[in-house]
């Protein structure tokens, strides 16, 4: 199973095996990763699963769909490497992905 590393704002990090097909958000919620709220449950409607993607991964990820950038406008402290983790679907290509959570969600 692909391994995803989540870095919390405190610096604490956890590497978790997430099944293909789940989103990076679901991997976090199912494993009690702090700092990813996902209030809307993954329908790209709330921007509370906002994460920063490690720079080297930026170009390897699937491009943002319409709407993700709009939602990121509302995220707390968005940056160039911001993504909504509900839109990152885990696959073998994402094995080793590292994301960090913002200081808060909204």
């Amino acid at each position: 199973m692909p391994k995803i590393t989540y870095i919390e704002i405190s610096g604490k990090f956890q590497t978790i095996e997430v099944a293909n097909g789940l989103s990076v958000m679901e991997g976090a919620v199912q494993n009690d990763i702090q700092g990813i709220d996902a209030d809307c449950g993954g329908s790209m409607a709330c921007a509370t699963c906002h994460v920063y993607v490690k720079e080297e991964w930026l170009d390897k990820l699937p491009k943002k769909e319409d709407g993700e950038e709009d939602m990121l406008d509302m995220a707390y402290e968005p940056k160039k490497n911001s993504r909504l983790s509900c839109q990152l679907i885990v696959s073998d290509e994402l094995d080793g992905l590292t994301v960090s959570t913002p200081s808060k969600q909204g």
């Binding site: 209030d39 809307c40 449950g41 329908s43 509370t48 950038e69 406008d73 707390y76 968005p78």
Partner: protein, 338 residues
């Protein structure tokens, strides 16, 4: 003090259908919601997005679903208290007394919490030291636009609220619009209008900038905005407005003595009552083994919670199950003529 059988907190789809379920069994209710309109997440987060899993409705938008639910409960002439957030609840003898932030008070024999993930609140700036200016020079909504007359107003955001206010206030104020990227997500006609005003030098627009810091002791004097390339620009302004949409906050619910599990309220699945007698929780905010956060599950939960409220509202009567197809009492409550 408004007296009713049941107070519903939350006017989303689940709260609305629960009005129906209370209504057909002859119970009265009032509904409180912090949003300025009925519909909850359906209307605030995805009014135009199609939903495909409402039973017997192959496809509908959040707005259509809301309108249909409002239509379905029309006969009950329910009062909605919008723009109000429930702050405190307490039990006095056998009744629940509820108070909102606007001072409205309710007395009811039961309360149904259908509050989703909590109440919608404006998203705020993340910049340090802005707390002391919030509500004075830093605002997230506009109540009286005349205060901005002949002042400089710096507006942050890229959606319709930010654009509409930039255009509106440009008539009477100096307006500076700041957004984190080049694309605006507002309606094209509005974006075009804003760009036109920029050409006419009636609005200044800075894109790829975000608020970096604010300066000033009693009042804000200068704000600094930071470009993607890290360069800083100084802006002299009287007001700072942020339009970043709304976020859901659990708010005062965690002070009501209810058991909480993360941000949800555990309930029993017989009638969706919480650990407090007479307080029920339905929809996204409740949790139990096997819980699905679906609108259709919320409808079921509301139907059972409504029956649960019956014994508190009418302790001397026995609830009798009836079908809408055959019950004369239900048809009369629905105003159906036979």
């Amino acid at each position: 003090m408004i007296k009713t059988d049941t107070l519903i907190i939350g006017a989303g789809p689940v709260g609305l259908f629960c009005v129906h379920q209370l209504g057909i069994i002859g119970l009265k209710c009032e509904v409180v919601d912090n949003l300025d309109k009925i519909g909850g997440q359906c209307i605030e987060l995805y009014p135009d997005k199609p939903i495909y899993d409402i039973p017997a409705v192959p496809e509908c938008t959040g707005e259509e679903l809301t309108n249909n639910l409002i239509e379905q409960i029309k006969a009950f002439k329910t009062n909605f208290h919008l723009n109000e957030r429930v702050e405190e609840i307490k039990k006095v003898e056998k009744k629940w007394i509820t108070k909102t932030n606007k001072g409205t008070e309710f007395e009811s024999s039961s309360i149904i919490i259908a509050a989703g993930v909590g109440s919608f609140e404006p998203r705020k700036f993340s910049t340090k030291e802005i707390d002391k200016f919030e509500g004075k020079q830093i605002l997230y909504s506009i109540k009286d636009k005349t205060v901005f007359k002949d002042k400089t107003v710096c507006i942050f955001g890229g959606g319709d609220s930010a654009l509409d206010w930039a255009i509106e206030l440009s008539n009477t104020s100096k307006v500076i619009l700041v957004h984190r990227r080049d694309d605006f997500r507002g309606m094209q006609a509005t974006v075009d209008k804003a760009n036109q005003l920029k050409k006419e030098c009636k609005i200044e627009i800075y894109t790829k900038y975000q608020l970096d810091s604010v300066q000033g002791k009693e009042k804000i004097e200068i704000i600094n905005i930071k470009h993607d390339d890290k360069s800083i620009k100084e802006i002299k302004t009287d007001y700072v407005l942020g339009f970043f949409g709304l976020i859901m906050q659990l708010g005062p619910i965690d002070e009501w003595g209810l058991n909480l599990d993360k941000k949800t309220i555990p309930v029993n699945t017989e009638n969706f009552e919480t650990n407090k007698e007479g307080i029920f929780a339905i929809g996204d905010i409740c949790s139990y083994p096997g819980k699905l956060k679906l609108i259709l599950s919320g409808f079921h939960e509301g139907a059972l919670a409504a029956r649960g409220c019956f014994k508190y509202a009418k302790p001397d009567e026995k609830y009798r199950f009836e079908f809408t197809t055959s019950s004369k009492a239900i048809k009369s409550r629905l105003g159906v003529k036979e």
